[in-house]
Symmetry: none
Subunit: 197 residues, 4 copies
DNA sequence: ACCTCCGGGACTGCCCGTTTAT
DNA sequence: ATAAACGGGCAGTCCCGGAGGT
């Protein structure tokens, strides 16, 4: 039965996620993860070939979750402006869920620019996301809810804006109401490209 | 004579900067830095008490340079909108100068959220920068070149936007014309708050 | 049914023999052997209590085979000198059969001087072999085909000679015609103790 | 001053020699060697890049010593037969000196057939030794102290004989008077090719 | 003051032979 | 007969201190 195996795996994942987020990937030892997960090193290396693999596993899970949520939010929206605002408002959940655990985002980012494997696993969904967002904007233009703007340009601006806010949120967790800023900023920007009627 | 000392220090800095940027702080060993700098480990520890100190040294230099450039650019501008555009256009130089060396930016960021010392050395200038930018926007409102917007909010949006673009530029060095995007995005945004005449 | 069991065992033996010979006992992991044999680790430890046991198994098989061949060769010979030459010529087969697999011989030897268990399993047949050889020489003296030499001394010399050649053959597999040397050397030596008529 | 360094090195060598001989190369840990030598791991890896390097160092020293002794013995002999007997008698010293430490010989041998680096460091002196011995025999023929035998063949036989005896001595340290056997065997063999007068 | 060699020892990721639960 | 778990052990690296020389 694979139940036991699955349980062990998720324990490792949970422990690794927490520790990587708190102390960083490099500073976190395999032994540490094992202890926190309550498994032996042998068990760890039975499930993962290397420390790096856990990281990649975490990354994949994270990316998959993000894309799933994104899809849901867009499907649940009536029109484009509403979808964008919903997504923007979603950062609130992100910040709330992660009691500092969101540092892992920075870790992903940080390693992606160094490690080719990580990079590949990150760049692909990132580009998918970018393309998808561009389509959304274009759709808004087509459906007449947005002004006839350059979809590619506008989508990139919006993504940059959101990314910038999130990045600052990671940097200064208790600095300010980043979720509010994210929402308001997107709202503010959106008003500029909304089709007046 | 302190000349030799200075030279050694700067050699260490140069080597450390390059290696930290290329391989990351953790992955870069003191021995590696020493070899690249052409100095002995003893010499290294004569100049710096710890590996961390080199990092802080680098960070300080970087922050100081950034602030200096920022000051120059603002002093050289006639009015607020022009200043903002000048700064936005400056990202071009940033991306050009750093042939990947700009990864160090991510390294600073990454460690700031972990290491209290680094955090302090980063957060202070960051907040200064934020405040300064808010003042700039306010000045624009006061001088009548900008609409009567909420300076605090607008400044944060602009900073987030810029940060988001730069972050993506670090992530995907050859991905796209980030410098152009930075300029255009700010320009686009600026137009929305420019006082029409 | 024990058929399957037997098959598994011999698969393990074959794999272990090859790997021990190629990479050495220590450098060969149990997992490696299992993979090469196409069995699971559980299966491995079902058949053998420990890695060491496989080694001993191999050793026993090898010794038994050697003694059997020896017995055959001596039975098939008309007189003592012929028997000795036959045995000496047999090294040819040894070198041919073992395309490097003969390294296992060195492994046996090497571990025998360290591990008491291995030593015991090696020393007994070795002494049997020595004694048997001494008897052969004595028989040669008695039957009048050899000069009245000291059988104990001569047998040891012959064994040493053969052993030295084989050892070099292991050391330098493609160095020279070791099988030829073995034959010629024994032949040469034999002529010195052959009863002239 | 390099005195300290030299002392540390030789301490490491001494400890490694003893442990490698007693327990084998693989079974001996670096930490073990360090403790026995009374040095830290840092110190160990300051002097040697890897565990393997110590082994090679030991091997070189051993080979050099062997060749030196060989040279001395040959220089000190009046004619060829005497030289050969002197060398043969030298095995006595070998067995005496090494209170089991001679196991290292088997270790060298064992690894030489596996590790290309070790092999190269072993094969070269071995071939030198073989060639030199051939010359010696030839010289004996030329000077008239030996019968007109095939020098190449005879030298190989003698080397094999000696090697076989030594190998058995390693295998069964307390088995028999190997040094005596070595001497007597060579003596016996020599008589067969001595020029009668 | 500046620099070098040598040394220290804790720590790392990973692999090992083996056992338990299924 | 298997997959999962075990935990101690491995070689090698880390950052750093200290005695001594220039």
């Amino acid at each position: 039965m694979q139940e036991r195996s699955q349980k062990t795996r998720s324990q490792i994942q949970r422990a690794a996620l927490k520790l990587f987020a708190k102390n960083g990937y490099d500073a976190t030892g395999v032994a540490e993860v094992c202890k926190a997960a309550g498994v032996s090193k042998g068990s760890f290396y039975h499930h993962y070939d290397a420390k790096q693999d856990v990281f990649l596993d975490l990354l994949e899970t994270w990316v998959a979750g993000l894309e799933a949520e994104l899809g849901e939010m867009m499907a649940a929206s009536k029109n484009v402006p509403e979808a964008i605002l919903t997504i923007a408002g979603h950062t609130k959940k992100i910040f709330r869920d992660s009691d500092g655990t969101f540092h892992i985002f920075l870790e992903f980012w940080s390693r992606a620019s160094r490690d080719p494997v990580v990079w590949k696993k990150t760049i692909a969904p990132y580009e998918r996301f970018l393309a998808l967002f561009e389509q959304v904007i274009q759709k808004g233009v087509d459906e007449g809810s947005l002004k006839p703007v350059d979809a590619r340009f506008v989508s990139r601006v919006l993504v940059s804006l959101a990314l910038g806010v999130v990045a600052q949120g990671v940097f200064m967790p208790k600095g300010g109401a980043w979720d509010v800023l994210a929402r308001d900023a997107v709202d503010f920007f959106l008003r500029g490209i909304l089709k007046e009627r």
